[in-house]
């Protein structure tokens, strides 16, 4: 069945098992009468006997109706709710009183998205179920867990593509709960089975990206070349850092001397299209398509392209031979 979701201050959406639709009222100046049992010409022709008068009642009439339009699920709220109480590990004092119930059913009633879209997003943001509640890990705790694993990989000289689950659990169990070790491996690796044993192929890009975030969150901005040096030194030996691993996480300012880099997370930006563009143009007046794409990609509707979004919400011009985009309206 279908469910209409939304809180009092939100616009209603209709959700199926796996899709979300905006609900809009459509008005018409015409009068719409609905007639149960009214026959169409085809139906009357088929029923040759009826030359009698059929008395039909008009059930009702209306000037408006609800129209459904498929939309992006509204998932920003999900992250916001989970971030109110991130899991800091078993030793943390904070967990004693959970003021917020975060069972799946409760999330379903608060988030304007279908169940499948919510479950998919929980996976994307690396949420995990701890004692029945959906939780997101506190970033520092997450880095601590990751560090345990990368250090173990280094000391055991395992290849990044073949990290055995069983040994990780054995070696790290005195440091952290099993579920957490398993969770960090699932978040930062790809699980596979070889000869009956479970292994993980570690995701180099995701690990490098997380370490970059750890470095960048400590200051407003960094000297780009200094950052790149520290970053490469901070990742596990054997992994290679590349700036394109940071799409949607950080932005390089090529106009400053020296060049700088700063943290800008797409998930921190507004969910609404116009607000997102306003926010981006407030940060930087003119954007190249390459720079802005990671920050608007998630706004694309089912068959929409980034180009189409830029045409609608931005104005293009040429700057030093390069095509750039700026706001259509003045940004205060």
């Amino acid at each position: 069945s279908l469910v209409i979701r939304g809180e009092k201050d939100e616009q209603a959406v209709l959700c199926s098992k796996d899709k979300t639709y905006d609900m809009k009222i459509a008005d018409t100046s015409n009068m719409l009468l609905f007639i149960p049992g009214c026959k169409t010409p085809e139906e009357l022709n088929a029923d040759a006997a009826s030359c009698n008068i059929i008395h039909s009642q008009i059930a009702g009439f209306s000037n408006n109706y609800w129209e459904l339009r498929r939309c992006r699920p509204k998932l920003k709220k999900l992250r916001k709710i989970l971030m109110e109480d991130p899991y800091e590990g078993p030793d943390s004092q904070k967990d004693q009183t959970l003021t917020f119930s975060k069972y799946t059913t409760d999330l379903l009633s608060l988030i304007q998205a279908s169940e499948e879209e919510i479950l998919h997003q929980l996976q994307v943001i690396d949420a995990c179920k701890i004692e029945g509640y959906w939780r997101i890990l506190d970033f520092d705790y997450e880095m601590k867990l990751l560090n345990h694993v990368t250090q173990l990989i280094d000391s055991e000289s395992w290849p990044f593509s073949k990290v055995p689950l069983r040994v990780c659990l054995e070696e790290l169990r005195c440091l952290e709960p099993r579920e957490m070790i398993q969770h960090i491996l699932l978040s930062y690796g790809r699980k596979y089975v070889d000869d009956g044993e479970v292994y993980f192929e570690m995701r180099e890009d995701k690990i490098c990206r997380a370490i970059a975030q750890m470095l960048l969150q400590n200051a407003v901005k960094f000297n780009l070349s200094e950052f790149e040096e520290v970053w490469q030194q901070s990742v596990p030996e054997g992994m290679t850092t590349r700036l394109d691993q940071l799409k949607g996480l950080a932005l390089v300012d090529k106009s400053s001397r020296p060049e700088t880099i700063f943290l800008l997370k797409v998930e921190d930006l507004p969910e609404n299209n116009q607000e997102r563009f306003n926010s981006l143009f407030g940060i930087r007046e003119k954007w190249t398509e390459v720079d802005i794409t990671p920050y608007i990609q998630d706004l694309c509707a089912e068959k929409q392209t980034v180009g189409a979004l830029l045409t609608k919400y931005a104005r293009s011009s040429m700057l030093n031979g390069v095509k750039v985009y700026n706001s259509r309206r003045p940004i205060s």
Partner: protein, 111 residues
Amino acid sequence: SGGAGALAQWVLVELQGEVEPRQSGGLAGSLLGDLHYTCEGIPVLIVGHHILYGKVVQLEKPFAVLVKQGGAPQPSPGEPHGHYAVTALIKTKLLFKTRPKPIITHVPRKV
């Protein structure tokens, strides 16, 4: 959802402008008019002393008729606050958008 065979099929009649009762008082219970079809299947609506010609349109986006049903007076968290049941589907409409023509009975010319 639910077998389409189980749902009633209604028809929508779309009129331009408004329908007013002949006398004061509501529309409920009053007769709107007579609906006919020509041999070619063209719907003809006679309202009062006007005649309207329309056409049968298969709706690109069918309608579902929802009837609100009372929810639990004190729903627990996670439980829906109300229910709508799909009563009928509308896949066809009779669209009347031409100007109503007054019906003037034939007055024989005096010879």
